[in-house]
């Protein structure tokens, strides 16, 4: 089976500032691909190009054989590509349950209520804490809970491809571990995920294939486990080198 998502030689420049240079990658159904790298490397920009929030200066993005470059974000969402951005973008004044239900907005007209309620239940099983808080207004939740809502909402759309932008950002260490357990669970359920992460160690552990992105380019790629053992990667992103105390992501 061909790749689900294909990014082909995508470049993006803003007002003379170059964010992406000839980035290419492909994701096959059921895979989890990780994207790590320093701040400002262009990881989030790449996700936003894929989900249609930005138009690339050159190159193209293909989803399921169809070129989606230049489509509006809503149309791309309708295809099944769901982007959970860094800033989560919840409906703060609405309850958790309404936020989640809105994730299935595009399905509400097409599918019976029963099916959607079923999906809602599955989300609650994945995130039991959300079930407790389902009538609570989203803006009053903690950072970690909001992250759960954001992901849960994405899942409600039954995405064919999930784009997660720094999902563990700002989470307490315990929650981070729990979160990556959820990612493992999602992989077991067959979701296809492109995961952009600060937390390099966990991301590399969970990813089938990972990419390292620096200053707009992909500099290294390979199976997650292999990258974990690469000395350059360890030095820069995993805090393995004892002398370099200022470096290292990992858990804070």
């Amino acid at each position: 089976m061909g790749p689900l998502l294909e990014v082909h030689q995508v470049s993006k420049a803003f007002d003379g500032l170059i964010a992406l240079v000839d980035v290419s990658l492909a994701i096959h159904p059921g895979q989890i691909k990780g994207l790590i790298g320093p701040n400002g490397a262009g990881k989030s920009t790449l996700l936003r190009v894929i989900s249609g929030l930005l138009r690339p200066t050159s190159g193209r993005v293909t989803f399921d054989g169809q070129v989606i470059t230049g489509w509006t974000p809503e149309r791309i969402v309708a295809c099944g590509v769901v982007h959970v951005p860094e800033r989560r973008q919840l409906f703060g004044a609405m309850r958790v349950e309404d936020n989640l239900l809105l994730g299935a907005y595009l399905r509400l007209r097409r599918e019976p209520w029963r099916v959607i309620r079923g999906d809602l239940e599955r989300v609650y099983e994945l995130f039991p804490r959300l079930r407790e808080r389902r009538r609570q207004v989203a803006a009053t939740l903690s950072g970690g809970e909001q992250q759960m809502v954001a992901i849960g909402r994405a899942l409600m759309a039954r995405p064919r491809l999930l784009l997660l932008d720094e999902p563990s950002l700002g989470l307490a260490p315990l929650l981070v571990r729990e979160f990556f357990r959820v990612v493992e669970e999602l992989r077991a359920q067959g979701y296809t995920i492109l995961l952009v992460e600060q937390n390099a160690r966990q991301a590399l552990r969970v990813a089938d294939v990972a990419y390292v992105m620096e200053t707009g380019r992909i500099t290294t790629q390979g199976p997650g486990r292999d990258l974990l053992n690469l000395p350059e990667v360890q030095a820069a992103y995993l805090g393995a080198h004892p002398a370099e105390k200022t470096m290292g992501v990992g858990l804070r």
Binding site: A13, D15, G16, L17, I18, A19, V21, G37, P38, N39, E86, R87, R88, Q89, L90, F91, G92, A93, A138, A139, T140, L141, S142, G143, Q146, Q147, A150, L169, G170, Q198, E214, T215, G216, R217, T219, E232, A236, Y237, T246, M247, V249, R252
Partner: protein, 350 residues
């Protein structure tokens, strides 16, 4: 709504592996619409068009001069009102609909005070005017403490509707107290109803015109000094981001003073009525928008431009359509205004 703070992202060290980088310096910034640019081109175009249409009607230099003078007169009053809008907006983020009410209260109270003080004489007039301005400011601060201050956590829209309610109430009270008929304040120069005419450049101009120019300029200069030199003023200027409650009341009072002064100085020329605030308030707002809504000099320039263009327009159209100009300008400027006015808020989690 409690907002969830975004934790600071850690700076990862950049890799030392050499690689081609993008140009470090930004290319020349893409040209964006600036409100000054829009205002400038729009005014120039309209000026030309109106001048041409006026020529078709046979207007000569003296007619244009007359229209110009009229325009700067209304423009000066618009400027005072507009600056009032900017002050309140910058400090509270609210578009103060009640501003028009203060523009009406100033002259009406002045007339009432003037009558109580005897109804004649320069001293009585000055005292009445001063008292009216003070009284209007007091009403404004009271209104603010009673209505807007308790509601300060509400959305900007809710607070705007509150100011709408305030405006309607005050205008309504104006109707009850003063009735629907127009009143009159004596001209400042002659201290009588009939004003002296001064000949300038071949046209006859009311002496009150100079009072209006002078008062507007003087008041705005005082305001500028206040913002530049005093501690309170500087703090208020800096309020653009942070809202401090007492600042909000002060801003409100200040706006009321500006509006009242404008209304008072205008009233010998145009007879004030209980509903004069609506039109002046709306047009002052349009002027503020033309200047970008957050800029004081912008508001003044916008007001003068609006006054002059509107006057020219009035000179070439049917009288009933005179008011349409300001509102068309309003919509155009709201739409063309760069960034700032466009949607995109209400997000949580960042």
């Amino acid at each position: 709504m409690r907002s969830v703070a975004e934790p600071a992202t850690t700076e990862l060290p950049a890799r030392t592996v050499p690689g081609p980088r993008g140009p470090a310096a930004r290319a020349p910034a893409a040209r964006r619409l600036s409100s000054r640019g829009v205002l400038g081109t729009a005014s120039a175009v309209l000026l030309l068009v109106f001048w041409a249409l006026g020529r078709r009607l046979g207007y000569g230099l003296s007619e244009y001069l007359q229209l110009l003078v009229d325009g700067t007169v209304t423009g000066s009053v618009y400027a005072l009102v507009a600056v009032g809008f900017v002050v309140v907006y910058r400090v509270t983020g609210v578009i103060n609909f009640a501003q028009g009410a203060f523009v009406m209260l100033g002259p009406m109270l002045a007339i009432t005070f003037f009558r109580t003080l005897g109804g004649s004489g320069g001293l009585a007039l000055a005292a009445a005017a001063a008292a009216a301005v003070l009284a209007t400011a007091l009403v404004a601060t009271a209104v603010h403490r009673l209505t807007l201050h308790p509601a300060r956590a509400a959305s900007a829209l809710t607070r705007i509707i509150i100011t709408v309610g305030v405006y309607i109430s005050i205008q309504g009270m104006g109707l009850i107290v003063w009735g629907p008929r127009p009143y009159a304040l004596p001209a400042f120069t002659t201290l009588q109803m009939a004003d002296r005419l001064v000949t300038v450049g071949g046209i006859a101009v009311q002496a009150q015109t100079f009072w209006i120019w002078g008062t507007a300029a003087f008041t705005l200069a005082l305001l500028a000094l206040f913002f530049e030199r005093t501690v309170v003023g500087k703090a208020m200027r800096a309020c653009a981001v942070n809202r401090v409650d007492r600042m909000a009341t002060l801003a409100f009072g200040l706006a009321a003073v500006l509006g009242a002064v404008g209304g008072i100085v205008l009233s010998p020329a145009t007879r004030p009525t209980y509903d004069m605030g609506l039109e002046l308030g709306l047009k002052g707002f349009v002027a503020a928008i033309m200047g970008g809504l957050v800029s004081f000099p912008g508001a003044v320039v916008g007001a003068l431009v609006l006054g002059v263009l509107e006057s020219l327009w009035a000179g070439i159209t049917l009288s009933g359509f005179k008011d349409i100009f300001a509102f068309v300008m309003l919509i155009i400027f709201l739409l063309v205004r760069p960034q700032g006015f466009l949607a995109g808020k209400g997000e949580v989690g960042h």
